[in-house]
């Protein structure tokens, strides 16, 4: 993507600021987030309160978790389009199995279902060498079909969401959503895992140059299977959290989160061509999208104009980010 001739800035201070921001890509993202919050506060004075912050974080958590699926797979130049469906499946399954067999069994079955999709994805991508986009699109369809078949069997069982998940999804501790009890350790594992484990290294390596990784002794199919399994499990856990949060196990529960999860990852600086990305960026990306959603909900204008604004802001945010971080 870097073939256009350079347009070098001649003003040294600007260059220096640009270089600094380029080395710390989180800063422009955080500035953009702060700017959006500022606009929101100006638009609706008084809205930015601890209560609002709690809400925003609460809704950003599942998005950020699904964005982890996208970010991790994108590191290897892949994508996981089945993530949202897997989350939905997990949410629906836990809500329908728990009343019959207990909460533990519900959660276990839900995660097993998620893992099954992940294994199939990993096999398809890593062994059969199907393009991840097609593979996960296909398994997403298959999982949706299976969910529909399954729901016909459980119409009469009713649904019940395990208390633990409701506590996690809707409860607050000291004003902050309980989801953070899940999310903070989760984010820490992803952040540290990417930097300081061999597996993390391999994800970057596969995305950057699979041939080189092979040359160095990596059996890439092992990495792919582990990766897509991991991604599906993350999606499954997200589904559990989400059903606890929305408390309505619908057949399309988390599906609307698919495109936003991709957006959150790429706004956060993950390259879909692999080899580059950070989870911290994806988390901020999820927050930006959530705040943007609020902003637009509260803007009273025709729905069409709202969507145009949404798209335009996403584009502007990423364009600015690209400007800042591209050290040329």
């Amino acid at each position: 993507m870097s073939s256009a001739p350079d347009t070098q800035d001649h003003t040294p201070p600007l260059v220096r600021v640009g270089r600094f921001l380029g080395d710390n890509p989180m800063i422009p993202l955080l500035v953009l987030l702060a700017a959006l919050i500022g606009v929101l506060e100006i638009m609706r004075p008084g809205i930015v309160s601890p209560f609002w912050a709690g809400n925003t974080i609460k809704f950003a958590i599942p998005l950020a978790m699904l964005a982890a699926c996208q970010m991790l797979t994108m590191l290897t130049a892949g994508i996981d389009l089945s993530a949202a469906v897997v989350a939905t499946v997990a949410g629906f399954v836990v809500a329908t199995v728990s009343p019959l067999h207990g909460d533990g069994a519900g959660i276990a079955v839900a995660l097993l279902a998620a893992a099954a999709v992940g294994l199939v994805n990993g096999f398809g991508v890593g062994v059969a060498r199907v393009h991840p986009l097609i593979m996960t699109l296909g398994t997403g369809l298959i999982a949706t079909g299976c969910l529909q078949v399954y729901q016909r069997l459980v119409i009469a069982t009713g649904s019940d969401i395990p208390d633990m998940l409701e506590w996690l999804g809707t409860g607050r501790t000291a004003g902050l959503p309980n989801g953070l009890f899940l999310f903070v350790p989760f984010a820490a594992i992803i952040l540290l895992g990417l930097r300081f484990t061999g597996f993390g290294r391999l994800l970057f390596a596969l995305g950057s140059n699979e041939h080189a990784a092979k040359l160095s002794g990596t059996r890439s199919w092992q990495v792919y299977i582990a990766l897509y399994l991991l991604s599906a499990l993350i999606a499954g856990i997200t589904g559990l959290l989400y059903v606890g949060m929305i408390r309505a196990p619908s057949l399309s529960l988390a599906n609307p989160l698919l495109l936003p999860s991709v957006a959150a990852a790429v706004i956060g600086g993950t390259s879909i061509f692999g080899g580059r990305g950070s989870y911290a960026g994806a988390i901020v990306g999820a927050l930006i999208l959530t705040v943007l959603g609020t902003l637009l909900t509260l803007l009273q204008m025709p729905e069409g104009a709202r969507r145009i604004l949404f798209g335009a802001i996403i584009l502007a945010v990423t364009a600015l980010y690209v400007r800042f971080t591209e050290s040329r």
């Binding site: 001739p5 350079d6 347009t7 070098q8 001649h10 270089r19 380029g22 300081f196 484990t197 061999g198 597996f199 290294r201 391999l202 970057f204 390596a205 950057s208 140059n209 041939h211 080189a212 990784a213 092979k214 040359l215 160095s216 002794g217 990596t218 059996r219 092992q222 582990a226 390259s271 080899g275 580059r276 050290s327 040329r328």
Partner: protein
């Protein structure tokens, strides 16, 4: 220098500067070339040669500097514009489009086919297929096509960036002849290479870059090499002597590698040799004699179709490079694009093999990694100014990273495929002792090189492959270029080892 910037100058650049973020690739580079002249652009790895060429041909925009074409101030904004004003480059990395055919690549640059065909012929590539897809062709052929395409577009100034680095000796000779003829016909040529034999055979003048600055402009004459090297490196070094090699021990006991009648269809038909611990075995071959296949088989990238391979006395057949690595065979490929994680740091590139196995997927041993990587960087003198992303390193430094990886890991058997390709003279002189040192520590090294002069400098003996078969085994003490060349052309008397 002023006397050369007369109206005769086809191209005259001065005061060119270019920074990439914090890296100042060029600070004050200048160069001029006249009609009928071949000017060598010389400098150590990372001196800024490629960057200079890219600026002259519009692939990069300079921060500062002035470029005159035939005395006229020119602003070359893109490679297309450069072509239009008669500046035609062959870049260090192939610039042919991988998924298009040869013919389509020609059409893309409006290159006439007939002269192209004629040049390809002159350059020694037989049976040109215009319908062949670029990505199916070997690197050396692509370099030749790149050059023939440039020549066919009838350039005023031809800029060749390490055009010959990936070529075997026979093709290099032809390239030199054709380029010389082109200059004699009135073009100006800017020629980049790290090989002094080529420079003295071809060039009229040498412009030397050091750290992005032009530090010399001298006529090529007897004994100029020392002067150039001194300018390039800012210090004296010794050329062309076997750098205090310890002699290999007697070749007794089980060989590390025992290769018998190895074949990999279609090119490799019958190769046999032994490689013992503590020795460096050279492999000599012209382009396309099966040496690529040999290294692929040994490194686990493809299975042999015949013959046997024994490692420390046990027969092996590798299905994956991981198998080869598990048996201690590590491979440095010729094409660094295949070996590097372009967007990742030098450190991650070097440490890559550490994480490969499932049992190393857990937490990294950071201390250990840091030490090993630092050691490799120091041994190879890798220029780490742009270490955040390997693709920002100069070509030569990228090459060093591919070798450094295995130095950091520790090796039993190292398979080196043309490791000094595009590496500057100083580093080469560092690599030979390094290879010797590995051997001294009871590693075994298989060393293919396209530069015959390297064989006596680094190897204990050499096997020569011709037409997919080993046709000669020559001891280092007898391995002068003449002998090797005769054998490589299949003219040797001796039978296979």
């Amino acid at each position: 220098m002023t006397d050369q910037t007369d109206a005769r100058a086809l191209l005259d650049a001065s005061g060119v500067a270019k920074s990439f973020g914090a890296v100042r690739a060029l600070t004050d580079a200048s160069l001029s070339v006249n009609a009928g002249e071949v000017v060598a652009l010389m400098g150590a790895n990372g001196a800024g040669k490629s960057t200079f060429v890219k600026i002259l041909t519009g692939a990069l925009r300079p921060d500062r500097g002035r470029v005159l074409i035939r005395g006229q101030e020119a602003r070359v904004g893109s490679p297309a514009e450069a072509r239009a004003s008669g500046l035609v480059p062959v870049y260090q990395e192939p610039s042919l489009i991988p998924d298009l055919t040869v013919a389509e690549n020609l059409r893309l640059t409006d290159t006439p086919v007939d002269p192209f065909r004629a040049y390809v012929d002159d350059l020694g590539i037989a049976n040109l297929r215009l319908g062949a897809l670029i990505h199916s062709l070997p690197l050396a052929t692509l370099r030749i096509f790149d050059l023939a395409r440039a020549l066919a577009s009838d350039p005023d100034v031809l800029l060749l960036d390490e055009m010959t680095a990936a070529l075997p000796t026979d093709l290099v000779e032809r390239v030199l002849k054709v380029v010389r003829a082109r200059a004699d016909a009135g073009s100006g040529v800017i020629y980049i290479s790290h090989r002094f034999t080529e420079i003295s055979a071809l060039c009229d003048r040498a412009v030397v870059l050091r750290d992005g600055r032009t530090v010399g402009d001298l006529a090529i004459e007897e004994g100029v090499e020392d002067r150039v090297v001194e300018l390039m490196l800012g210090a004296r070094i010794d050329l062309g002597r076997r750098a205090g090699l310890a002699h290999a021990e007697a070749r007794t006991g089980t060989p590390r590698l025992k290769v018998r009648n190895l074949a990999a269809a279609p090119k490799l038909t019958d190769v046999s040799f032994d490689l013992h611990p503590g020795e460096v075995l050279g492999v000599v071959a012209l382009e396309g004699q099966g040496q690529d296949e040999l290294f692929d088989v040994l490194s686990g990238f493809r299975r042999a179709t015949g013959g046997t391979l024994e490692v420390d006395g046990t027969p092996e057949s590798f299905g994956h490079p991981a198998d080869a690595i598990a048996r201690g065979l590590t491979f440095v490929p010729g094409d660094r694009a295949h070996a590097l994680l372009a967007e990742r740091s030098v450190r991650e590139n070097i440490a890559l093999p550490f994480a490969a196995r499932i049992r190393n997927w857990g937490p990294l041993k950071l201390r250990h990694e840091r030490d090993r990587v630092a050691h490799a960087i120091e041994k190879l003198q890798i220029d780490t100014r742009a270490q955040g992303e390997v693709r920002r390193l100069s070509g030569g430094n990228q090459q060093k990273v591919t070798i450094g990886r295995w130095l950091a890991t520790g090796v039993e058997t190292l398979l080196l495929f043309d490791p000094t390709r595009g590496i500057d003279v100083r580093t080469k002189r560092q690599i030979y002792p390094l290879v010797r040192e590995l051997a001294a520590n009871r590693s075994a090294v298989l060393f293919y090189t396209s530069e015959l002069e390297e064989v006596p400098l680094a190897c204990d003996r050499a096997v020569v492959i011709f037409n997919g078969r080993t046709v000669a085994e020559i001891d280092a003490s007898e391995a002068d270029e003449q002998t090797l060349m005769r054998a490589a052309y299949g003219l040797a008397e001796e039978g296979a080892a």
